[in-house]
Structures are given as structure tokens and as C-alpha cells.
Amino acid sequence: MNAQAYNFAYLDEQTKRMIRRAILKGLAIPGYQVPFASREMPMPYGWGTGGVQVTAACLVPEDKLKVIDQGADDTTNAVSIRKFFEKTAGVEVTEATGEASLIQTRHRIPEQDLSKDQILVYQVPIPEPLRFLEPRETETRKMHELEEYGLMHVKLYEDISRHGEISTSYAYPVKVEGRYIMDPSPIPKFDNPKLSDSSAIQLFGAGREQRIYALPPYTDVQSLDFEDYPFEVSKAPHDCDLCGAKDTYLDEVITDDAGSRMYVCSDTDFCSTRRQNGHVGRLGTPVSSEVA
């Protein structure tokens, strides 16, 4: 199929307007899931169609786009989505977090603080935070309407009584501005604090489930917890073996069949920037010594 046959950023104008209206209502009601008539995209549901539609509705030709999956720019699905927008919107792309005006992400928030000129678009598989407690949309909609979130607190409390802690490690539910409980998409709970009070606009798109929601900048986002069991972030108790960073989210890499492991930053841009600035981890080598 020829990209020229399609409109700027692929979607037709009426579809973009419909998505844009949903985004505006989402920003006006932070944390509330706005239903939208998600379109069938040329990539499968569950592979970022919601994020892609939100990105398509937001992109301008001047944008610099970054796409990450698991924190990395070079994972295959990130590559595929980036290529899609290079082809259909002709926008410039970048891997540098600081240079990007729009970042589409799956499962991570970049380590580097975002600025007020940036937009972060999340790909969301199941937007309803109450879905695994109550499978019926008709029921969960009522719960949001009545702010009836007891079920969620019961679930978290059961975790504590069984395991001594809340055993949710990703897609950890949050409360937005004291009103709506929201699913932050399957980011590790390590990333949850970055949701709150961000300078950037955060948009969430769930294509298959036909929902868009949003966090304006400087929005109060609290991870659910209890007074005696406060929310805690967690990460592997290591430093990055490549760049030595102590406070980043790490991937565990198995390096041989004897079970040796190394830990590396999941945010590839953050790690390589640090290494270029001369930071060296336990198993790293100075960048200058690597063969280009």
C-alpha cells in the first residue's frame, strides 16, 4: 500500500476530530476514561492501536517523535510504530528523550524528567483498573460514577494479609485528583511517582477497549495505599552494569547458561547518554574504547 494514498498521519480528518474531542474531554476530566470510536488500524489490536490513534491525532509536521517499548527505542514494535509515522506523517524521529516533542511509550516512563513542551502518549491494553475485580463494563462504570472503590481497597488489603505487602508490581492503580481511580498502563510501579505533577501532558490510548484518558500537567496522582502500608517503589537491588546508574529501572539479562546475570538500564537512551558522559558500570567499558 502506498503511503501517499493516505491522509497526513494516516487517519482521515473526521476520525482525528473525533479522537481530538475525546482527548479534550479527557483533559477536562482527569483520570476519567472517555469512550471513543476506535478505528481498525493497520496494526493489530493490543499492539498499540490506541496510542497510535492518539499520536496520529496530535502530531504536527514540526514534531520530533520518539517511540519506546520497554524503555527501549530499538525493540521491534517500537521500530514498527516509528516507521509507520515516518512514512505517513513525514515527521522527524529521535531517540533522545530531551529532543522529542512527542513520545509514544509502552510500559515505561522515561527516566529523564519531561518538560512542559512534551507530550507522553501511553499504549494501554486494559484501561479499566477495576476490570480484573469486576469483568462487566456495566458494573465498573457504575463504580466510577458512585466513587465506589471499596472492591479495590479490599483486593489490596487481601494482598497485605496474605503476603505482608501489596503484590501488584506493575499497572499499579492510582487515584487522580482525589476522584477517579485510573490504570497507569502496565508501567512498573517504580514509574508511578513520575505520573504525578509532571510538566508534560500525559495521554492514554486503549484502541481495542475504545477508551482515551488523560493527565494534564501538574495533576495530583496518588498510588493507592494504606496509612500503615504506604506505597513503595521497587527495583532490582543493583546498579546498572553498563553505566553505573543507581536509581534507574533495570532489565535483568541472563548472560550464560550457568545463570550469570547482569543488570542494565531499561531506558536505553538514558543509559547511553550516561555512558557517553563518561559513566562506566561494573561490566561496562568506556564508550571511547568501543569499536564504532
Binding site: L24, A28, A214, P216, Y218
Partner: protein, 203 residues
Amino acid sequence: MNMHKTAGGGFKDAPVEAARSFRILMNAMARPGSISQLDAIEPPDPLSPAAGTALLTLADPTTPVFLAGAADTETARNWVAFHIGAPIIEPSDLRSFAGRGRPPGEVFAVGAWADLRGHLEALPIGRPDYPDRSATLIADLPTIANSGAKLSGPGIRAIEALSLPETEVFQENNARFPLGFDVFFTSGSLVAALPRSTRVEAA
């Protein structure tokens, strides 16, 4: 329809100009009180360039448009019909568009704030289960400046000032959150937004 009279007020390159205009509107809605320039088109009088651009960017045949008071002229109606294709509705029809079914409840009410003021009661403010099915106002003011009423809430770092025409009505609108309407204030080429989530205090 008299085409040459109304054909002027449209985007020259719709996909790109609509995208840029939307980004301005989205930034405005995400940062209540912040003022930006929005004037991709020249709509017929008395609509301001900012109001006309906002409407052209967001409305279409699926979203009814209410032209309030002085904005309800034959030229404005023709312009909406030709460039937007939105059904034009009367205040008495406004509420009925808030319910289940087509169109999804979103209506645009356009005009001078003074003309819109009397119709606020009739505007859809969403339903408790679908608060998004609510009106968006595009309200023209004589001027807009970052002075006057104090705004706080999502999208605002500390406090933002905006020259609101009054305060009480917006306090009431915020008090019924998550229900409510959302407003784009326009003046000439300028736009600023006041969503229902914003808390308003008189200066």
C-alpha cells in the same frame, strides 16, 4: 448556497492546519488560563478568528452547533453549513443531545459570552456515568489577559490569573465536577481554556 461568500473561511491545507490548531487548543485545555494565539482562518463576522478556528478544528457533521445571539447570522450559518457541515440547533434542543445515542452528546455553543450566558442552564453537562457527554463553549470576550480571577487545579502549577467575565458561575460549574461544561475563551486571535476541573477564586 452562495459559495463565494462563505468559501473563504476554511483551512487551506486541512490536515496540517487542523493538526496545528488542535495542538494549540489541547495545550490550552491542558493548561487552564494559559493564553495562546489561534487564527488559522478568517471566519465571517462576528466570529473571531480564534473562535472560528476552534470550531472548524473540532466540530463536524456529528456535533451539533448552537450559535448564540449575535453569532446567529445567516452568513455564520452558511459558513458552518459549508465548512463544517454541523447541524445547527436551538437552545431548546441542547439538552436532548446529551442522552444516549447519536450524536454522542457533545455540542458546541458559540458566541459572545454575554449571549451564551443566558443559555447555560440548557447546556448538557454530561451524565454521572458519562460526564464527557457535555457541551464545549467557545465564548468570545472583548479582551483576554492573565489578570483577574485566580485559577488552580489540574494543569496549573501554582496559581494562574485569567480575566474571566465573572466567577460565580464557574465556581458552580467546578462544584459539580465531574459533571460540567468546558470553555474556550476567545478574543481576536487569542484563546484560553477553562475546563470544569479548574477551581476559580475572585481576584
